[in-house]
Amino acid sequence: MSKVIVVTSGKGGVGKTTTSASFGTGLAQRGHKTVVIDFDVGLRNLDLIMGCERRVVYDFVNVINNESNLHQTLIKDKRVENLYVLPASQTRDKEALTREGVERVLNELRQSFEYIVCDSPAGIERGALMALYFADEALIVTNPEVSSVRDSDRILGILASRSRRAEQGDEPVKEHLVLARYAPDRANRGDMLSVDDVVEILGIPLLGVIPESQSVLQASNAGVPVILDEQSDAGVAYNDLIDRYLGENRPHRFLTVEKKGFFRRLFRN
């Protein structure tokens, strides 16, 4: 059975695309055939983060309009087996994604993929609603900051009322919290919401904490999902997150400030 997983947040710039790229890559690395879909119509970016921008020929909207087929459109990752990208269209037509079209493409992808990861645009408008509508599960990417937490809560409300599962009275969309850009030292000082604060407010299970890390910017500069930088703290955190998602027992790391020497030796920050 394949799973459709939306990566969403409400608020912009919190790490959805970073998380989608690493989540998809991590699942594929562990042998699961995975496709990551960029739902950000007009603002295609996933291709850059995954380093396949120069190989985009057709896009999601072409497939919906039957101007290309999936075989022609999906980009096969060069580094990781089992990994594919479906790029967003750069059209300015916000109506380009129709519910029927998206459903048809997802059904076709379900035939051959185990995991279908949907990278949602920011906001709670059409694009974001479309990305979450067909979801079986959701990664709620949140930063430890008031507006991000509030927006995440709104998205949870939308998942519970306007997803297909909600509308059809099926089992609700399974929710996972991904707390990104976490700075343990600031949280410990009381200057930043802590993991426990955010979990308590949102009330959904914590899948992973991704530390604020320079390695994320470096990875995006290079077009390599940060999970492939196994030396970096963010890379380690995303790898743990995948294992946890797949049912392994992995204690959360990066919640406290590590001893400097040890930390430096293990990870390039």
């Binding site: 008031v146 809560d153 519970a160 009322s161 509308e167 009275g169 009381g190 919401l193 407010i201």
Partner: protein
């Protein structure tokens, strides 16, 4: 003394204030929405039974949706008929 100095001078960081404010606003905005009313699935089933007395339809042709606005609620019922049982829409 500015607001930030105030927080720095106490041992309580600004995060505690953030948490408190969030708890209040989130509780307000939820207004019970998280627990969409329990009667929706039952209502949907009853509707299905009634409509089926007249037209054969399947489960996913009935959509029930409750929207909470500021101070009122909208219960939206949407029954789509397939072409064969043409009688139009809604």
């Amino acid at each position: 003394m500015g607001l930030l100095d105030y927080f720095r001078s106490t041992r309580r960081g600004t995060a505690a204030v953030a948490k408190e404010r969030l708890q209040i606003i989130v509780a307000h905005e939820r207004g019970g929405r998280r627990h969409s009313p329990d009667y929706l699935p039952a209502l949907k089933k009853d509707l299905l039974d009634v409509v089926r007395k007249y037209v054969p339809i399947s489960q996913n042709q009935v959509k029930v949706h409750l929207d909470r606005r500021e101070d009122y609620e909208v219960l939206e019922l949407n029954i789509t008929l397939t072409d064969e049982d043409q009688a139009g829409h809604k």
